[in-house]
Amino acid sequence: MSEVGRIVSASKWRNRILFSSILILLMIAFVADVAIGSVNIPFAELTKILFGKTSGHESWNTIVFDFRLPRAITAVLAGAALAVSGLQMQSLFRNPIAGPYLLGVSSGASLGVALLILATGSLTFFKDFIGNEGWGMIIAAITGSSLVLLLMLFISTRVNDITTILIIGMMFGSVVSAIVGILEYYSDNDSLKAFTIWSFGSLSGVVWKQLHVLIPSLIIGFVVAFIMIKPLNLLLLGENYAKSTGLNLMRTRILLIISTGILAGGITAFCGPIGFIGTAVPHINRIIFKTTDHRLLVPASLISGALLVLICDIVAQLPKDQVSLPINAITALIGAPIVIWIILSRRGAKSFF
């Protein structure tokens, strides 16, 4: 075996070990997230409940199955979806700080739902129309976030500076909250109530009924993301190079926007905006795995994003006997320093793009 070949296979083994350890950590974190909560359930009882035996405390069964399991599953989904959508956006925009939260994609999802609930009177209209309120919300959120992605893509073809794009994304967020504020002002009590319930979205607010809508939608997003792995790698080499290999740029962009819109919009529709995960996780992975290859980055971002949000949720649950902390605050505490670091060491980040 040649010297180069030995280094390549050594790094391959290194990455395999890293990948498996993250996977194992993910499983441990999942169990820990289910185990930790404001009500103290002994671990022995917990395993009993998880393996289908009923515990002596009937309320514990409900707590595990209706409260903690949906929350942990949502945390996994949110982390995976946000990280993958952030990775796609960074390669699509060729911008290291791109992410659904920072570029206003989450705001677009909020606007979509606000228009649905507040401008159509109330949820009942769409409930009759689509048959299930969850579908109405997720379609509105995905449409909203995809439109913002299109807009940002259009802007990024004209402006090349990453901080300018970031500022435009934040401005867009402000405009959206202003529009939502105006809509709230003019809407009746019932729809306002419905919108307030929605805007409270958090990991712990997601119930099985909503997961039935969320999971199939996200699967579509993930499948497209895996199909787009090769085009993403080509995009990294530059648009001209990508074109020269016969890549259909337009089709690639549209598919990426659809996938990102589904992943980021779907999560925002049910959990509300969760910041910084989408921007931070792909970077952490590039550093850990020392690669820009999407064949590794897409699955790695998926599982490490899930792991990071699970850890954030565990931290949020730590103040025992008290109300858990808002998940968005924890993700911001962990994610914002990473974003600051990226901006400060822009030369280092540029080496990836």
């Binding site: 404001s38 006997d321 109300v323």
Partner: protein, 394 residues
Amino acid sequence: MNLSSKHDMSLRHVMFVILATVLIFCCKEKSNREQSVAEKKEPFDSLTQVQIKYANGFSVRYGDGFKEVEVYQPFEGSDDTLRYFLIPRESSAVPKGGWTLIETPIRFMVCLSTTHVALASFLDAENLIVGISGTQFIYDEKVRKLIAENKIAEIGNEESLDQEKILSLHPDIIMAYHTGIEGYDQYERLEESGLNVVINADFMETTPLGLCEWVKFLAVFTDQEKIANERFAVVEHEYNAMAKLASIPLKKPTVFTGVDWNGTWSVPGGRSFAANYLKDAGADYVWKKNPETGKLLLDFEQVYAEAADADFWINPGSISSWHELMEWDPRCGNFKAAQNRNLFSNDVRVNENGGFDYFESGVTHPQILLKDLIHIFHPELLPDNELVYYRQLP
């Protein structure tokens, strides 16, 4: 924590006694000097005096030609005492340092809370009100008529009071409340413009009769002690009779309240106002053993762990039906009380703008509220009763 606050209280009482003694001597001297002035008016000590039995938040002391009103602990965590020195109109007296001088009977009053309006209604003193914050939330027919006739002005909401409007009304007092939130209370700005702000701490009371007894607080300012004593005695008698009735049944149904709001479920502490109502109504409140007088902030699973099997669910936020509750959070359907549709809310008397009469006339009608609760928990005790403030949610 409760122990230490009790300790504080007793210490505060001792301090108060010492302070009061000192003050009495000071005042005696002063009032001797002012006697000639005071004699022109009807001296206060010939009026019926109010006696405070249930309220812990204020005290009244009658002197020769003056009344001293003190308000203790105007908000949670405060150890302030606010002092008001009341003299008959057109008599003259110089108040001691730290005392706000107010001439009685007051003629014009501005109210910053609907509970203050309720106190005035109880004393038939609605016509003293010249301004209210949040007129659209008023439920009382008589007061609404006065608002419609422009005899009572809107003075803005609590975050942004219309100060110029208030000044133009020339109120003798502004009845306000102190939230203790920095930058939120605007009464200091009003005081600076020379207005008399009287802080009402009725919301700090932990018993229904204690809250209602604040009618005597207003009565001291309106010189309506007699009427306040008489009317309060009726309420007190009926309330205590009801509570006695509810103490008979051996089986006390378990009860919990509130609803999850953005991941937080606020429940009343075991010694809170709401908990005392439930206790007096013969119910077994799920958190009755908790020592807090304020509220507890829990999350959904904590509430579920304790209240899953409770018999009754009272006041689930702004939820108005079982169906709405299921839409709010389908997990609410796991509670036994929800499955049995034992859901009750105090939203019967609500005006078109969402003003709850429960927080208005409910303050001065604790006997009716208690009757409602007993009707819910022990229907056999009150066979012919009809609910007034509460209803079973459809």
